[in-house]
């Protein structure tokens, strides 16, 4: 009897006590294999290298060391969910799924488990409404900001008038690729341009029909919403039909070195959006060199520094670290929980001074997150590929997207989600 009682008490204590974690855990749902590996590798390397820097230089976040758990998803939704399930018990503070498909599957799980998701520049756009998507954040910019930013750039280079212009959208024929269509249709009505939709099936190695159509119809501008091999193939086909590269603009997932380098010199002048800095001319890189690279601790092959997607991974990690610091500040504890991390993300404020202090002056826009707005300001810049120099050049400042159009669409879509999922809109 005594033994039974002892066992029951021990079991109850074990189950009631929160698990003890030594570190702040940031899982990395990476893809170093499969059709999108070339893009998954630099992001994962940048993400992990930043945390290595924080550990080596600062002794972690608020005295707590950071632990990165990498889990290979292969950009496969099922594997991504498996990764989430297998790592959440380790004390995961925030997930960056780096896939819209995985994000959609994780949204209800994240709400149930109280573990925040950060889907920077991808995922479900209407998650910007924090009153509905309490645990999902997509700052500093989302898909619809991107769809609008391209149009804004065209307005800028056409003295504010694109009425009667023709605009083709070459997009990945998937949920991801279809994201900008609704926004573009609304913007088409507003600005009077003609929109042509050209879907490309996965993986996108074959686009002859689409580009023959572009050659026949000669749209004034071609915009792209692609990923992986689709991007390089599209840029190659554009070069083949001698389409003017400066009139060809991709979203930020169609604007890495992997997309232009295989095309060579003919990719010169191609434009793509971005929501962060390019290259390695930032003081932060000096610290990375000193504390990470020179110590032989660079993640992966250590050959990705300064690339667009490496910088994006690094930026995502920086935003996670700053949110963790904010959470520690709000709750007065260093060993934060995922729920506290969520609070930190919702109270995150990125200023120019902070970016300078972090060694990333001008690397990203200033913004403030709130319960009403988990999506940030939606600022984007335009980059242009300089084939001769072999690098992207930022040719515009970060500028605003059309929030009149986007805000209404976000309200509509998030309200529909709230209704179908029985979510009550509220700020905690």
């Amino acid at each position: 009897m005594k033994m039974k009682t002892f066992t029951a008490i021990a079991l109850a204590v074990t189950m009631a006590a929160p698990p003890a974690f030594a570190d702040l855990v940031f899982p990395s749902l990476s893809y170093r294999t499969g059709p999108y590996a070339a893009n998954g590798i630099p992001f994962a390397d940048g993400y992990e290298d930043y945390f290595k820097l924080i550990n080596a230089r600062d002794g972690g976040i608020g005295g707590e060391m950071v632990k990165v758990i990498e889990c290979e998803t292969g950009y496969n939704t099922e594997k991504g969910v498996e990764c989430y399930e297998s790592t959440k018990g380790e004390g995961a503070l925030v997930y960056q799924p780096l896939s819209t498909g995985i994000t959609y599957q994780l949204i209800p799980k994240s709400a149930a488990d109280g573990i925040p998701l950060h889907t920077m520049g991808y995922g479900r756009t209407s998650a910007a409404n924090g009153k509905v998507f309490n645990t999902v954040f997509n700052y500093p910019a989302n898909y619809w900001n991107g769809a609008s930013a391209v149009v804004n750039h065209l307005l800028e280079i056409n003295d504010g008038d694109i009425k009667g212009k023709t605009l083709a959208l070459v997009y990945h024929n998937s949920a991801y690729g279809k994201e900008p269509i609704r926004t573009r249709e609304e913007l088409s009505k507003k600005h009077g341009f003609e929109l042509t939709l050209l879907p490309v099936d996965h993986p996108g190695q074959e686009q002859k029909s689409q580009w023959l159509q572009i050659r026949r119809e000669k749209p004034d501008y071609v915009t792209m919403w692609g990923w992986g091999v689709m991007n390089a193939t599209a840029i190659q086909e554009a070069a083949n039909i001698r389409y003017p590269m400066e009139n060809f603009i991709g979203v930020w997932w169609s604007g890495s070195e992997n997309d232009v380098k295989p095309v060579g010199d003919k990719a010169d002048g191609y434009k793509a959006l971005n929501f962060h800095g390019v290259g390695d001319d930032y003081p932060l890189y000096d610290d990375l060199k000193k504390y990470v690279y020179d110590e032989g601790n660079a993640t992966g092959a250590g050959d990705q520094k300064g690339t667009v997607l490496y910088n994006r991974g690094m930026y995502a990690a920086m935003l996670a670290v700053e949110a963790a610091k904010k959470a520690q500040e709000i709750h007065g504890v260093s060993d934060i929980t995922p729920q506290q991390m969520r609070d930190g993300m919702e109270a995150l404020e990125i200023t120019e001074d902070l970016m300078t202090e972090l060694g990333m002056p001008g690397f990203g826009p200033s913004f403030k997150v709130s319960c009403e707005n988990h999506g940030g300001p939606g600022l984007a810049s335009v980059n242009q590929w300089d084939a001769k120099a072999g690098q992207w050049k930022q040719i515009t400042d970060y500028s605003e997207s059309d929030m009149d159009v986007i805000g209404a669409l976000i309200e509509e879509d998030s309200a529909a989600y709230a209704k179908e999922s029985n979510v009550e809109e509220a700020c905690s």
Binding site: T33, A37, V200, D201, K208, L212, R215, R242, P262, D303
Partner: protein, 332 residues
């Protein structure tokens, strides 16, 4: 004739060119299936591996450098030299022959007389192994492949046909790379046909294809034939990998071109080299014309992938063995 008609002709010509590219992939499948009854699932990955190896050798990449660097803390990536394209192609062919020998020694030898489904499963395993092995050996980043074949719309064709359809017609667009691919495919097929008809080894290949037991009884070495046929399939994979890799860079998705070969095989038959060519052309023209006439204007586009399979299925209903496939008659 109105411009729209000539644009239709342009789509047809581009469909033929695309068909040639599909045929190049389908050929590898046919060769192995004909000689050994194996549906080689790894053919697409072989094309990727061959292209990766060619770029690796050409640009002087150190094989397994990522692994070596991770294990020994070194920072080696390149040998510091570039190998001329022709020499790199020869060396790559050597690697593919070595690959064929290894496949025979480690896999096929142990599976003689096994059911076709077991051999098929073995090639699935081989595909996944080769996929990872290729990335480990040469890295997963997208590589630019340059074998000196020009790419882009052929200006001469464009300018000399621009008069056909009035001001709204810009001349036929034909990619120079596709024109080269067509010529190379013609030479390749002619060589394969001549090889199998007029050489001793070619006749042995055909004998094995007809009847393994009978071929063995007259002294033909099945194992040697398998090495030869996998080597030839490796060479065909290299040609397909080069042509596709030059279009979109050498990267993982190259292995998915095998998916484009399946409807071609269903249509042309698994055992006929001319079938692979004709099947490729029918699929290429069919899908491009359907997209041009119906898909893009009425169905929202992106119809090519499913239309190719639908076309093949329609053929299957009327001719299950494919256009040129051998009809299998099994008697009790």
């Amino acid at each position: 004739m109105p411009a729209e008609f000539w644009y239709g002709v342009e789509v047809l010509l581009n469909g033929l060119m695309a068909g040639v590219m599909y045929s190049l992939v389908a050929l590898g499948f046919v060769l192995i299936f004909k000689a050994s009854g194996i549906f080689n699932y790894a053919q697409g990955v072989m094309a990727l591996f061959a292209a990766q190896t060619l770029v690796g050798i050409q640009t002087g990449l150190v094989p397994f450098s990522h692994m070596i660097n991770a294990m020994f803390g070194t920072k080696i990536h390149h040998f510091g030299w570039n190998v001329p394209t022709f020499a790199a192609i020869l060396l790559t062919i050597g690697v593919m022959v070595l690959f064929a020998i290894i496949v025979e020694k480690l896999i096929l030898k142990h599976l003689v007389n096994q059911e076709p489904i077991i051999l098929f499963m073995a090639t699935i395993g081989l595909a996944y192994f080769l996929e990872g092995f290729g990335d480990l050996m040469w890295g997963a980043e997208i590589k630019k492949l340059d074998v000196g074949i020009p790419q882009g719309g052929n200006v001469w064709v464009e300018e000399s046909t621009a008069f056909l359809g009035g001001d709204d017609f810009y001349g036929f667009y034909l990619d120079t790379l596709d024109i080269y691919a067509t010529v190379i495919a013609i030479v390749l097929v002619a060589s394969l046909v001549l090889f199998s008809q007029y050489t001793k080894t070619g006749r042995a290949l055909r004998a094995v294809a007809d009847d393994h037991q009978a071929a063995l009884s007259v002294g033909i070495s099945l194992r040697t034939i398998w090495v030869i046929v996998w080597s030839i399939a490796g060479f065909v994979a290299l040609v397909a990998g080069v042509m596709w890799g030059a279009k979109s860079g050498v990267q993982f998705s190259l292995s998915l071109i095998a998916l484009k070969a399946l409807p071609v095989l269903m249509l042309g038959g698994f055992t006929s080299i001319p079938g692979a060519i004709i099947g490729g052309l029918i699929i290429g023209v069919g899908e491009k014309m359907f997209e041009f006439l119906i898909g893009a204007p009425f169905l929202g586009g992106a119809t090519e992938n499913w239309f190719a399979y639908m076309l093949a299925l329609i053929f299957l209903i009327f001719r299950p063995q494919g256009l040129f496939g051998e009809k299998i008659i099994e008697r009790v």
